[in-house]
Point group: C2
Chain length 192, copies 2
DNA sequence: GGGTCAACCAAGCAAGCGCTAGTGTAAACG
DNA sequence: CGTTTACACTAGCGCTTGCTTGGTTGACCC
């Protein structure tokens, strides 16, 4: 058993694990499948991770951190117009989900598989991400761009975005930009 | 092995299986857990179902049929106003999802676990349900209640609704009616 | 050039998995 | 009455699972 550092090797293994977790789901992914994908034997896997749970936690941590930093960057690079900010958040979310998707998808869809301690340790990351959304929603509400209950609106928007994983075809005609524009148009009261 | 009829016994077992599939997920639910929940031994289970896959298929079939018939009933009992119809569909969907939730939740979240033949056999049910949604969305678009691409709008709306399973607390203050009203208000251009 | 250490491997254990085979039993049927 | 049918049981097979153990390799270090 090894120290649970963030060696580059471990980061790479985590990335590969994310891919399999998306394809097969956490439960169906065996340590032997993971090891084969990584080009090592199943026993060697436990040199890098204490157990299978820890692989999941590593994937989810990476995915949420990535989503969080991309969202922050997107907000930094757009002006203070509420509609532009809403659009930037939606686009960043979709691009995370649809291009560099793996880890973030796992974070969304395998969260339940985390054991309680890992969940407690990671929930602050998730909360930070959702807080970012609520800020942007609040601004849009204050500006009259949209209206409604801030809690419900943000949940509905996140739901619409997260569900895209189920039907969106990245090789199709529509870009993340298209989806983001359409979503913002759908819920905002401007234009016409 | 038995004929795969729709005996009342089998219907009841299917209902109990749905409960466990929601709680634990399909993969984590073992035939021994299912049997215990049903009050029989694991071997006896295979008198009613050919294999574990068939239990999943039965649950998903029941869930989708239920959702479909509830949606149809909701549409029958409201007038032809596009907003009323949209609201009725959203409410029916939420009530299916949040009260009689189990089977429908499984249909949504364990669809991937179906083997190809079961999926092919059940997809027409799912298509019928989604077609119902697209009809209502089309009417709302034609009436100018909402605007945008019919495909994207219906996917976004379904996403917002289906995601409620992740955060909604049925014992809380908000009713399915509340959520439906808020969702329709969020995407429609009337009022103000 | 002996010691250290991360990275890997071969082999396998204990537990749990889906599923089967063969049997018992009580009600329903001709 | 004897036969069939529906439903349940016991026992366990063959396999896969997550994980452990003990040992090997090769790069780096003073």
């Amino acid at each position: 058993m090894n120290v649970m550092n963030d060696s580059p090797r471990r980061k790479e293994l985590t990335r590969q694990a994310a891919q399999l977790f998306v394809q097969e789901g956490f439960d169906r992914t065996t340590v032997r499948m993971l090891a084969q994908e990584m080009g090592i034997k199943s026993g060697s896997l436990f040199h890098h991770f204490r157990d299978k749970q820890e692989i999941l936690a590593a994937v989810i941590e990476a995915g949420t951190e990535n989503a969080l930093s991309l969202a922050r960057a997107a907000l930094d690079h757009c002006d203070s117009d509420p509609e532009a900010r809403l659009h930037a958040m939606a686009r960043a979310h979709l691009e995370t989900l649809l291009t560099d998707r793996n880890a973030h998808v796992v974070a969304l869809y395998e969260w339940r598989r985390l054991d309680p301690e890992a969940r407690a340790h990671l929930s602050h990351l998730r909360d930070a991400y959702e807080a970012l959304w609520e800020t942007v929603i609040d601004e849009a509400l204050a500006a009259g761009l949209i209206r409604g209950d801030r809690f419900l609106v943000s949940r509905f928007v996140m739901g619409a975005l997260n569900w895209t994983v189920r039907w969106y075809d990245p090789d199709g005609e529509r870009s993340p930009e298209d989806l983001a524009r359409e979503l913002v148009a759908m819920i905002s009261r401007t234009g016409g």
